[in-house]
């Protein structure tokens, strides 16, 4: 279990940087607004960052042994499929996680 001092440090660092990211640009508003690099980055950063985060979260998955990443693949497929179909964020997250949790508990047993 992480120490209290470590968790407090994480909290302070994350809170300070997050606030700075929200506050500092207001001071440089004019230059930011006119910068084309900023506009280009703001357009393409979010999608890429999210893709990287998904890969990061899947880093522990072993596709060479049973169940070959099937649990994660199903969870993501259910999430993405439902989202493309219904456009409902919560429905997708709950159904995708539900499918994952169910497979996690029952799939290994099915494979012996």
């Amino acid at each position: 279990m992480p120490s209290t001092g470590y968790i407090v440090s994480v909290l302070v660092i994350a809170a300070t940087i997050t606030f700075a990211l929200r506050a500092v640009p207001f001071a440089f508003l004019g230059r930011l607004r006119s910068s084309q690099v900023t506009a280009f980055l703001s357009q393409h950063m979010p999608a890429g960052i999210m893709v990287i985060l998904v890969i990061y979260l899947l880093r522990g998955v072993d596709v060479t042994t049973s169940p070959y990443g099937l649990t994660e693949a199903t969870g993501i497929a259910v999430t993405a499929g439902l989202y493309l179909w219904r456009r409902n964020v919560l429905l997708s997250i709950f159904a995708g996680t539900g499918a994952y949790v169910l497979l996690l508990h029952f799939l290994p047993a099915a494979h012996g």
Binding site: R22, L32, A47, I49, L53, V54, I55, T97
Partner: protein
Amino acid sequence: MSSHMRTARGEPAPPQDRKRASDIRQALAETLPVGVGMFSLGITFGLLVVQSGLAWWWTPLFSGLIYAGSLEFLLVGMLMAASPLVSIALTTLLVNFRHVFYSLSFPLHRVRGKAAKTYAVFALIDEAYALTATRSADSFSSLRIIATQVSLQSYWVGGGLVGALTGRALPTIDGLDFTLTSLFTVLAIEACRSGRDVPAPLLAAGCGLFAQLVAPGQMLVVAMTLYVITLLVRYRFTRPQENANA
């Protein structure tokens, strides 16, 4: 009795209180749909915190002070993996970097008072930006903007508290942290659709897999830095005309 307060046109006089009440009512009505989502997601965050073995009261501290949903989920995992503070700082910087661009259209000039302005900037989350950065927000009162943001934060912190407090009574559920993978999958689809750009997510996937291979311990930081560099290189080569003038 009320007839004494009517104006020549027969309309009730509009007192300041009525305007204030209507501002708050409008803010509450507007935040309700997204608030339900934030409350539910807040519950899963509270559950994740206590099921990871952390004390329940860390939930309102994280939700109240950092107040950046997807990062908070990510931090719980990084905490449990005892990630170095440098990684925490760089991950925060890169995951929340998008907030830098919110200043471009958030109507901060409408907010009155130093404390209110500070809070408005602190609570400038994705949802607050989405609800206030439209053109019509230029007519929003200071109170309406602040009421919108306070209401959103209440949903998030409130949901977290409910999840953290009920989670202690529930048996530990393996795999609940998959909510984060699902959340980022949805956000990735949404961002890809609005970006209408095929190479960006593919380049990101390439950066992610490469970083995982060469630096598995520092995957996030390496991948995100590589991705920003590839974007800058792309910018340099796809927009030669604009750059010529810069």
